[in-house]
């Protein structure tokens, strides 16, 4: 039971996402990916990428003149929520949201259209350490004629393995810059990683690699980056919300089915109350995630703060949901055969992507002058 008002377009997007993801990019797809890539060291399934393009998802944030369908952040959030529910192994956040948001705000035509059509895959690289710190940019961009040569390292870049291009942040003679590079170019090294959630992450090492395009530089780059991170974290929060909701739903179903002491687990008040508490947390999260996405679509000044609260809250709610899920399943919750553990693993990784609870609550404290 939740209170969610959606436009007709948004409902259609959600239903299409729910239908496609639950049938074709679900927990079983994640298990296949895990087995096929030894824990994530591999590209995404090309058939899924193709389907994403056909659904118009790469262009969800892009205006029509950039080849997109322009449905906005809320619609992107609805897709992410379904992706979270299904643990879908897709480059949605990295390519369709982060990279697309950068290209949109750089008013780039060519690259955006190619991304939207699914012709090329683009990742976005902005982390250099173990904790989210997009302001920390040590990668250097040296002006060479009318282009730039980049050197340095980015770490844990989402959806990089198998991508054709990568957009990266770097320091230039004119301040922060956003540069697009071909992943096959000289001086580009990609090290795919195996991670607990079998996601697609890789380290990126650049050694005098030449940029294909300078997307933005200076103050403009700062703004573009801030916009991309804002929508990215709100969409990431939506994904965590979907994940938490599904873990809670599966757990409630189990409580109704499993019997001990001659009755269902659902009849024990200690568990009833915890399930109800989790429900309350999820509904709070749902409301703030929707508020953040709507604020972004309406260019509301509250969007920055709401997007951070949404990511912090969703991270915390998802952590609660998966730990309650494992605990309330008992021994079977600890088995790899049951899907619940995969939800726990994904929640852990998603917590760190684009900033965890502490990161965003620290921002909030500073805003309040504390």
């Amino acid at each position: 039971m939740s209170m969610e008002i959606l436009t007709e377009d948004q409902q259609m997007v959600r239903d299409a996402a729910a239908g496609f993801l639950s049938a074709s990019a679900n927990v079983d797809s994640l298990r296949q990916r895990r087995n096929a890539t030894q824990g994530g060291r591999g590209a995404h399934d090309p058939a899924l990428l193709q389907a994403m393009a056909e659904l118009g998802w790469y262009g969800i944030l892009l205006p029509e003149d950039q080849g997109g369908v322009d449905l906005g952040a809320r619609a992107a959030g609805l897709i992410a929520q379904e992706a979270g529910r299904n643990l879908s192994p897709l480059p949605f956040l990295g390519s369709a949201v982060l990279a697309a948001a950068v290209l949109r705000d750089c008013e780039d035509q060519d690259w955006a259209a190619k991304l939207a059509s699914g012709e090329i895959q683009i990742a976005f690289a902005f982390e250099e350490g173990g904790k989210h710190a997009p302001d920390h940019v040590a990668m250097q961009a040296l002006a060479m004629g009318n282009s730039y040569n980049l050197s340095g390292a980015k770490r844990h870049v989402a959806d990089l393995t198998g991508a054709d291009f990568v957009i990266t942040t770097a320091q230039s003679d004119q301040g922060l810059g956003l540069f697009l590079l071909a992943t096959q170019g000289t001086g580009v090294q990609i090290d795919p990683l195996a991670t607990v959630d079998s996601g697609n992450y890789a380290h990126l090492q650049l050694d005098h690699a030449q940029a294909e395009a300078v997307l933005a530089i200076g103050e403009r780059a700062e703004t573009v980056l801030a916009n991309a991170l804002r929508v990215g974290r709100a969409v990431a929060a939506a994904e965590l919300l979907g994940l938490a909701d599904e873990a809670a739903t599966r757990t409630s179903a189990y409580l109704k089915e499993r019997k001990q002491f001659g009755m269902t687990l659902a009849s024990f008040q200690a568990l009833q109350h915890r399930a109800a508490d989790l429900y309350c947390q999820i509904e709070s999260t749902r409301a703030v995630v929707a508020a953040a996405l709507d604020a972004i679509d309406q260019a509301d000044p509250q969007a920055e703060s709401l997007s951070r609260v949404a990511k912090a809250k969703a991270t915390k709610t998802a952590r609660l949901a998966v730990s309650e899920a494992v605990q309330m399943h008992g021994g079977i919750g600890m088995t790899d055969a049951l899907d619940i553990g995969l939800f726990m693993k994904k929640a852990r990784a998603a917590a760190e992507i684009l900033g965890d609870h502490n990161h965003h609550s620290e921002w909030l404290l500073q805003q309040k002058g504390l």
């Binding site: 173990g130 904790k131 088995t335 965890d356």
Partner: protein, 392 residues
């Protein structure tokens, strides 16, 4: 010099001389010496260390010498533990026999059983597993349905256990079996011991979310168990089972270093997060969370030490073991969560081939089982609210 002082001095000297250097290094689960018929020592030093400690009875220091121990007093035992810790000496042998079955046999076994089974445990010759949980009997453990039919000389045991840790590696099992089908639930269970190599026993490993496969489904199909392999009286197995659980819970509560690696939260936080110009952890919120944890952890260490002193003084731990188990395992889960937060993206690393080994993410996932195995946190709270607070 008092007796205890000279005991300390001689113990220190003996350990210095006899504990091989490689056995003084921090260990992970993979380095544990479990013993058993099929045990393959991981190194020559591991074998030497075990043999030397066995010869002194120090694998089970407090057990009487007649049963393979050293008959140490509570104080001597503490000194030995302190002296081992001083040089980081690894436990030479760890096993369900030492932690669980041994104490139950000392309490409930016949003299013959003690002389037969205990020295095998002390020497690491027989590795035991615990056949308690069943698909239908987890928190409701007394609901076990594995049946033992009286066939005169022996019980014929049939049924299924689940989550049996290391059943595929164990030599013998201690097992809860319903031998009195007509008696009330808690009065129909017997505590049986039998060889896992008996005809009719089979196991099937189950993979954990942490990557390893240490527990199994265990099946019994008309297994013959001679009648003298019962501990306690027929139908009185529940008392033995509960007593054993108090030891298991105390053990799980103290599972800090051995199973969960040597990762030091404070050092990791400094290394990954760094310090600000005032010398404080650069993430102030994480810093406060670590502070909160460290206070609870220090209090728990005192609590555990007090419980150990209590037991060394020869007193029973009883239902109090539920509080140690609850607090200790919930703390360990918090510790692993904090280590993951400290490591951030780096801590997501996962080598599926060796996942159970050294990796933080694997240990973090394994810690989630702590509040389930040996009785869940909810069961511990029920035991305390009923058994101590007399609520309901």
């Amino acid at each position: 010099m008092s007796d205890l002082e000279s005991f300390r001095a001689s113990t220190r000297a003996w350990l210095e001389e006899n504990c091989p250097q490689p056995m003084r290094a921090p260990m992970t689960e993979a380095d544990i010496c479990w013993g058993g018929r099929n045990w393959q020592f991981q190194s020559e030093e591991q074998q030497i260390w075990l043999e030397r400690m066995v010869a002194r009875g120090w694998t089970v220091p407090r057990w009487p010498t007649a049963y393979g121990g050293a008959g140490l007093s509570g104080d001597e035992d503490r000194i030995l533990a302190e002296e081992m810790e001083r040089i980081n000496a690894r436990p030479p042998l760890q096993s369900f026999g030492i932690w669980m079955l041994g104490p139950a046999l000392l309490q409930f076994g016949t003299e013959e059983q003690k002389r037969h089974y205990l020295p095998q445990i002390a020497r690491g010759e027989i590795r035991w597993c615990q056949g308690y949980s069943e698909p239908g009997a987890g928190s409701d453990l007394a609901g076990v349905q594995t049946k033992g039919v009286d066939q005169g000389e022996y019980f014929e045991v049939s049924g299924q256990k689940i989550w049996t840790s290391y059943a595929d590696k164990a030599d013998w099992i201690f097992c809860l079996v319903r031998t009195e089908p007509d008696a009330p639930k808690h009065k129909g269970i017997s505590f049986l011991l039998f060889d896992m190599a008996s005809p009719g026993v089979s196991t099937k490993p189950i993979q954990l979310i942490s990557g390893a496969s240490p527990f199994c489904e265990t099946f019994f199909d008309a297994v013959h168990v001679p009648k003298d392999q019962i501990v306690g009286a027929r139908g009185a197995g529940w008392s033995v089972a509960k007593y054993l659980l108090t030891h298991e819970r105390e053990m799980i509560a103290g599972t800090d270093s051995a199973l969960f690696g040597s990762a030091d939260l404070v050092a990791e936080a400094k290394a990954h997060i760094g310090l600000d110009s005032a010398g404080r952890l650069a993430d102030p919120i994480l810093r406060a969370q670590i502070a909160d944890f460290l206070v609870d952890e220090a209090a728990f260490e005192a609590e555990l030490e007090a419980a150990r002193a209590w037991m060394r003084a020869g007193k029973m731990i009883g239902v109090q073991s539920a509080r140690l188990k609850y607090t200790g395992t919930e703390l360990n889960k918090r510790r692993q969560e904090l280590l993951m937060a400290v490591g951030g993206l780096e801590a997501l690393a996962w080598d599926s081939a060796n996942a159970a080994d050294h990796e933080l993410a694997s240990l973090w996932l394994r810690s989630k089982g702590n509040s389930i195995e040996g009785g869940t946190s909810e069961v511990m709270l029920s035991i305390l609210s009923k058994g101590v607070l007399e609520l309901g």
